[in-house]
């Protein structure tokens, strides 16, 4: 459908005899929060890896803003505005929180063949980085080495790194994973505040958060989308309840 | 360039290839399954040669020397692994490189101390020192034996890997090593045994090479490097890749050394051909490696990691 920011058609991916993605179709509208839910082993991470470019689909296509990005290398997708956060925080442990986010800013600001000036002294990098850290609630931790940050704080940092460049599409892989109820609430509030401004694909197990945030929900079972609709529609859907009971 | 010459050199290449295969088989499993860089593999080869030569010098029996070298290699491998390398299995590759580099230095010096710096001689029993005539060439029996042993090992390895439960674990280990522990396999024991078997194979290669190459300190490194090139070409973790890669490397290297200078002499000035020939020949397998990698970065038969 034109106007969609992301359109996935007929995606297939198998590992040997294991079919991880089976004729997956999905579309994401600009400005929406589109959640993906499904039982464990349904192929959510495999799907996100294909969206991000880490895995190459066997067949099918991924169209982002009208461009076919199925074969596009990872770094180009990032520069095209597709940002991805990881289920297990993938941050730079030797650096401080500020350095981490500044690095994210640096990634999209032209080339990095600058050999002389200290990156840490650059306002061009630090300014937006600080803003992002403040937005996620880490304003006290600019100079804390990540190795000394707790799990919840690292999840916040993870988010700061992907929102700082104002991506066109944000792929969030279980952002609430391992968070305490308080942290969870803070994250949900934060994501809610970004509604409408940033398009998001949200993979989550936390049903409360999903139903609170999502505009639409797609349900992934055995590598294929069995349903797609508003939260109310999904709640009422018999197939979904059959496949997903208790999760 | 006559047919008998080509046949002889091809057989020599084949023989070098199986020696490399014996080294590569053990090493590629260690690299692939245990993700462990063992640069000291060449030292195990060297120790196998020294064990064999010493036993032969004492007992004059080739068979005792052979059995002793293989057993000694296995034991040495397990001992080295338990004492020095066990803690490094889960560590950085850098630490592994460093440690096994230290081991190379240690073993090279050790052999110098025990057996002296001059080459150590190992002879052959009567039955193995002759030559056979076929297809117009006269070829040493012993080299045919090496080829025979190598092919036998390759065959046994193929059977073990394809047809037995142990082999299945090895193949599974290459792709999902981390899950084996969860499946109840005694991973520690398996790793120790694999390392020991790899060491025994290296020692076997060393003992087979001892009568025809010079047994001396540092003999392990040149063949180690050929082995590394082989594994890169064949694909890490793949026994099939090790076998085919070894044959390719053995034949290309041997034929290249003999034929390249001759070929060059057809086109170039004699003195240039004589100078450039050996130079290019010794670099040939590296160009081959670069070529393979440019097209297939993971080697010819990569083990797929699901």
């Amino acid at each position: 459908m034109s106007g969609d920011i992301l359109s996935v058609r007929g995606l297939f991916k198998s590992f040997g005899s294991l079919m991880a993605t089976f004729n997956l179709n999905m579309n994401v509208r600009p400005g929406e929060i589109h959640a993906i839910i499904g039982p464990n082993g349904a192929g959510k991470t495999t799907f996100i890896s294909q969206l991000a470019g880490e895995l190459k689909p066997d067949s099918g296509s991924i169209i982002f803003e009208g461009r076919d990005i199925t074969a596009m290398p990872i770094y180009k997708r990032a520069r095209a505005g597709l940002a991805r956060s990881y289920q297990i925080s993938s941050v730079f442990l030797e650096f401080t929180a500020l350095m981490n986010v500044a690095l994210a800013v640096q990634a999209q600001g032209g080339h990095s063949f600058r050999f002389w000036e200290a990156a840490a002294a650059s306002n061009e990098l630090n300014g937006p980085a600080k803003d992002a850290l403040i937005a996620v609630g880490l304003e006290e931790h600019f100079d804390t080495p990540v190795s000394r940050m707790g799990h919840g704080e690292r999840r916040q940092l993870e988010l700061a790194m992907v929102i700082v460049n104002k991506p066109k599409l944000l792929l969030l892989d279980e952002p609430m994973a391992g968070m305490s109820p308080k942290e969870n609430q803070a994250m949900t509030t934060l994501l809610a505040s970004m509604k409408g401004k940033t398009t998001m694909v949200l993979i989550e197990h936390d049903m409360e958060a999903v139903f609170a945030l999502a505009d639409r929900i797609s349900v992934l079972v055995y590598g294929a989308m069995i349903a797609c609709g508003t939260p109310d529609e999904i709640r009422a859907n018999k197939d979904v309840r059959a496949a997903y009971l208790g999760d | 360039m006559t047919f008998p010459m080509i046949l002889t050199q091809a057989l020599n290449g084949f023989q070098l290839g199986v020696l490399i295969f014996l080294m590569a088989a053990g090493l590629t499993l260690v690299f692939g399954i245990m993700d462990f860089v063992n640069l000291a593999h060449g030292s195990l080869y060297m120790m196998g040669a020294y064990f064999a030569a010493s036993l032969w010098n004492v007992t004059e029996s080739f068979w005792i020397a052979a059995a002793g070298a293989i057993a000694g290699g296995f034991i040495l491998g397990v001992v080295v692994q338990q004492i020095a390398l066990k803690t490094l299995f889960d560590r950085d590759h850098l630490d592994q490189v460093l440690a096994t580099f230290g081991l190379i230095l240690f073993f090279n010096e050790l052999t110098r101390m025990i057996w002296g710096p001059s080459p150590y001689f190992m002879g052959l029993p009567e039955g193995l020192s002759g030559a056979i005539e076929f297809f117009g060439i006269t070829y040493p029996v012993y080299r045919l034996l090496i080829i025979g042993v190598g092919l036998t090992v390759a065959f046994v390895a193929w059977i073990v890997i394809q047809k037995t439960r142990v082999g299945m674990l090895i193949r599974a280990g290459a792709s999902i090593g981390w899950m084996l522990g969860a499946l109840g396999v005694n991973v520690k024991l398996m790793k120790t045994l694999l390392f020991g078997v790899g060491a025994a194979l290296a020692a076997l290669a060393g003992l087979m090479a001892a009568p025809i190459l010079s047994v001396q300190s540092g003999m392990g490194e040149p063949i180690l490097i050929l082995t590394l090139v082989t594994i890169v070409i064949g694909g890490i973790g793949s026994i099939r890749g090790a076998f085919l890669g070894a044959l390719i490397v053995g034949i290309v290297d041997t034929l290249g050394r003999t034929m390249l200078p001759l070929i060059l002499r057809q086109f170039l000035d004699r003195s240039i051909a004589n100078a450039a020939g050996p130079a290019l020949a010794s670099m040939l397998i590296y160009f081959l490696m670069a070529g393979v990698l440019a097209v297939k970065p993971k080697g010819l038969f990569p083990v797929k990691n699901g």
Binding site: Q106, F113 | L228, Y286
Partner: protein, 307 residues
């Protein structure tokens, strides 16, 4: 601080050795500094970049042979020697790097080793340039005002270069380029996900490192008056790695400390025994097993040392 102590010691060697009438010390410490330069260049990609390359001695060899071959052809201008070393090492680095850097981990180690061996055999087969015996270099590189023939001049020239390398390394590590390199070491996947095409930055770092190392080769040829395939031997590549790790991975002074420590150790051991590797080998194994942050790490006071 350790760094200043070492630099002060190094700067005073010529004075001390002349006073003591032992010119040997100057030569010895010159050698240490030259290896320190090579180790510094390796630290760039190994310590900060996380690339375990086992073929760095290759570039020392290229530097040395640039001098040797040019001198034998009648060219004695040091600046030409230097330019040749830079051009050749850059060419080789771009070629071998483009191939090696497409893989990581174990394959990378093996491929860098194999390429270094390739050139090692090439050097051995160059019979008109000494073959496996190496070639003597009868004349020193002529750098105009800086007369390498006078030991103390040579010494302070190398010392200045060492300081220059340290300063440049420091700037490089903290620059945007350096941040990309350091980030790729810890988490290459994330770097790509952020939008960095890490391959080209690694290739650049590898090339810079190679060129820096070849300069050490040029100096070594002038110190020893010799160029030999041994300068490219894999064992020397291994020793460079030992220097970097022993000194302290990813620290600025680490390589210098490591070079000094290793060479002093080797010298001390050879005074005691003919078989120093029997001791040194296990010591290296031991270092690999226990010493996490090297000698510099032992002296580091605060935890969040941002070097």
């Amino acid at each position: 601080m350790l760094a200043f102590a070492i630099l002060i010691i190094l700067s005073s060697v010529p004075v001390v050795s002349t006073l003591m009438g032992q010119p040997f010390y100057m030569t010895f410490f010159l050698r240490i500094m030259i290896y320190a330069l090579a180790a510094l260049s390796l630290n760039l990609i190994l310590g900060y970049g996380g690339l375990v390359g086992f073929g760095h001695a290759l570039y020392i060899g290229i530097g040395a042979y640039s001098v040797g071959i040019l001198v034998s052809l009648g060219v004695t201008n040091g600046w030409i020697h230097l330019s040749a070393a830079v051009i050749f090492s850059l060419a080789v680095a771009l070629f071998t790097g483009a191939i090696s850097l497409r893989v990581t981990g174990i394959p990378f180690i093996m491929i860098t080793l194999a390429f270094a061996q390739m050139f090692f055999f090439l050097a051995i087969s160059l019979r008109q340039f000494g073959g496996d015996e190496g070639m003597t270099i009868p004349v020193l590189s002529n750098f105009g005002l800086v007369d390498l023939g006078r030991k103390s001049v040579f010494y302070y020239a190398v010392f200045s270069i060492l300081l220059f390398y340290l300063y440049c390394s420091w700037r490089l590590i903290n620059s945007r380029f350096g941040m990309v390199l350091r980030g790729s070491k810890g988490n290459d996947r994330r770097m790509n996900a952020l939008g960095f095409p890490t391959f080209r930055y690694r290739l650049a770092a590898y090339s810079i490192s190679a060129v820096m190392c070849s300069l050490a080769g040029v100096l070594l040829a002038n110190l020893t008056g010799f160029a030999s395939p041994d300068y490219m031997a894999w064992s020397l590549s291994g020793e460079l790695i030992v220097m970097v790790v022993l000194g302290g991975i990813g620290t600025l002074m680490g390589p210098v400390v490591g070079a000094m420590a290793l060479m002093l150790l080797e010298e001390a051991l050879s005074l005691c025994t003919d078989h120093r590797m029997i001791v040194l080998g296990p010591m290296i194994v031991f270092t690999a097993i226990i010493a996490k942050r090297g000698i510099v790490g032992l002296f580091a006071t605060s935890e969040g040392e941002r070097r």
